[in-house]
Amino acid sequence: MKKKIIKRLLIYLFVVLASIWAAFPFYWALTTSFKSKADVFKPLFIPFIQFQPTLENWLSEAMLRGEVIMLGLRNSLIAACTSAVLCVILGGMAGYALARFKFRRWKNRDIIIWFFSLRFLPPIAVAIPFFLIFMNMGLIDNVLSLILSYTVFFMPFSTLVLRDIFKGIPRELEESALVDGCNWFSAFRRIALPLAAPGLIAAFIICFALAWNEFLFALILTYRNATTIPVVIAGAEHSQGVDFWYICTRSVIAITPPVILATLVQKWLVSGLTLGAVRGAR
């Protein structure tokens, strides 16, 4: 019994520590957004006790930059959601193929390395050529150019992660279904996909987060109409320095949609079947 109590205490201790670690910068951003400009560089932690919170930064943002921020949020949402969904669908299919089938022209291992290699090149190297491509397609300053770019960049993540997940699902399950008369598509849809739900969600979250935070291409490929949240945040720096208070307000605004999304989907990060792998022996 004692061992169990100690284990419980340890678990809670680590959870609390990890939570403080993860939450502190958010807490700092939130409280700093309520500080007056003169208080930004002071070590004031607790509102009302150590400093007087003020709404002036939020009001100023809403009145002066509200439209730009809303535009950035909208574009970011569209670009990130669409590209993440595309990544998961296309990448999921590719990952499944690499997990289940044997390719003979190019070996699986080589295709996998090819997917990894897509991430080797720093984005800077291809920024201007991408700009030229989209300029010729007439898609400059259009969210569609961002969607296409992000799908191409982040597909390796979903492909590789989902390949591992699919590999971990016993092949016999689909083979039994095949024997029962399904074709591979059905087996994929009705057996592999549901079992891979945690992996699909994980891939979606990763691709979404990467697209949400992507800065360089959002900067290069957009001018005004397709501007995204990271570019709006970077706009808080100007020739007179950085407006840290606006960085904080915009960070808080920028983090909210992804966190809501993560909350909604995290239920699916748990697989119904396996119910946790390490519960094991106590």
Partner: protein, 287 residues
């Protein structure tokens, strides 16, 4: 089995075609640029491999590569252990488990640009929150940004904070997808928690861990956003990363040829590394 023949291409090709159609031109164009001496206001002329050879005498390349390598090793190792630990922790039953999962995932959603600026206020030496706490507890003032070693540490801290959730999500998904049977068998055989972890979980999770770690290594080698605002590569050039030098060369100085060559050098290094690794990882990736 001709059905399977067609099916497998049907599954794989959409993504491959989409990727290829967008990256072929940029790759070729970039390769072409790396062989020229492109400058504003001048017709570029081919200069062969001299951009690549210049790397051997450019001390900033050596410096940034050293920093980037050290940074990668340090951050990836800590993040892997940290993420694995928290992923296992997340699978225990405790109050607020679902909230904790979202909370621990949230750092990955912060925009690196915003994080970099925010860190300036957090690491502010003359009275920011960290130094204030440290002064109260240990009466020390840590030069987070103005000293090269501490600047390295503060960048590592920021990266660990932001990217541990990345590995955490992958590991958690992997853990949740593990089959139940081995655990049942092990429990029946009377194994302890630790033995189960060591002999069942780790081997089964190995592919996922390796994929995650490889992906993170690649990303770490390209670290840029968090460094730019927080330390600017300083003090001096002690925290200038390889990609930051490429960015400056390509976009500030507009020496597109040299920047392209530097990018391809990274590509080549990683290609060699992965080909070597591929032989070692045959068991994991070989079909």
């Amino acid at each position: 089995m001709s059905g399977e023949e067609r099916i497998k291409y049907l599954f794989l090709l959409p993504s491959v075609i989409m990727i290829l159609s967008f990256i072929i031109f940029p790759l070729i164009y970039s390769l072409y640029l790396s062989l020229t001496n492109w400058q504003i206001g001048r017709v570029p002329s081919l200069i062969g491999l001299s951009n690549y050879l210049k790397v051997f005498t450019d001390y900033r390349v050596h410096n940034s590569l050293t920093f980037t390598l050290l940074f990668t090793i340090f951050t990836v190792s800590i993040e892997t252990l940290f993420a694995l630990g928290v992923a296992i922790l997340s699978q225990q039953k405790f109050f607020g488990n679902r909230f904790f999962r979202v909370l621990f995932t949230a750092p990955f959603f912060t925009c690196p640009v915003a994080l970099s600026y925010l860190s300036i206020t957090i690491f502010y030496e003359e009275g920011g929150p960290l130094n204030n706490l440290l002064k109260l507890l240990f009466d020390i003032k840590v030069p987070w940004i103005s000293d090269p070693d501490y600047a390295f540490l503060s960048l590592c801290l920021v990266d660990i904070w932001q990217w541990t959730p990345f590995l955490y999500i992958i590991f958690l998904a992997g853990l949740e997808s593990l089959p139940k049977e081995p655990y049942e068998a092990a429990t029946i055989d009377g194994a302890s928690s630790f033995q189960i972890f060591r002999y069942v979980t780790i081997p089964l999770l190995a592919p996922v861990i390796i994929t995650g770690v490889l992906l993170k290594i690649i990303e770490s080698l390209k670290v840029f956003d968090i460094i730019y605002a927080l330390t600017g590569g300083g003090p001096g050039v002690s925290t200038e990363s390889y990609t930051m030098y490429i960015y400056k060369t390509g976009f500030r100085f507009f020496r597109l040829g040299y920047a392209a060559a530097l990018s391809f050098i990274l590509l080549i290094i990683l290609m060699i590394l992965f080909t070597i690794l591929a032989f070692r990882l045959r068991e994991v990736y070989y079909e």
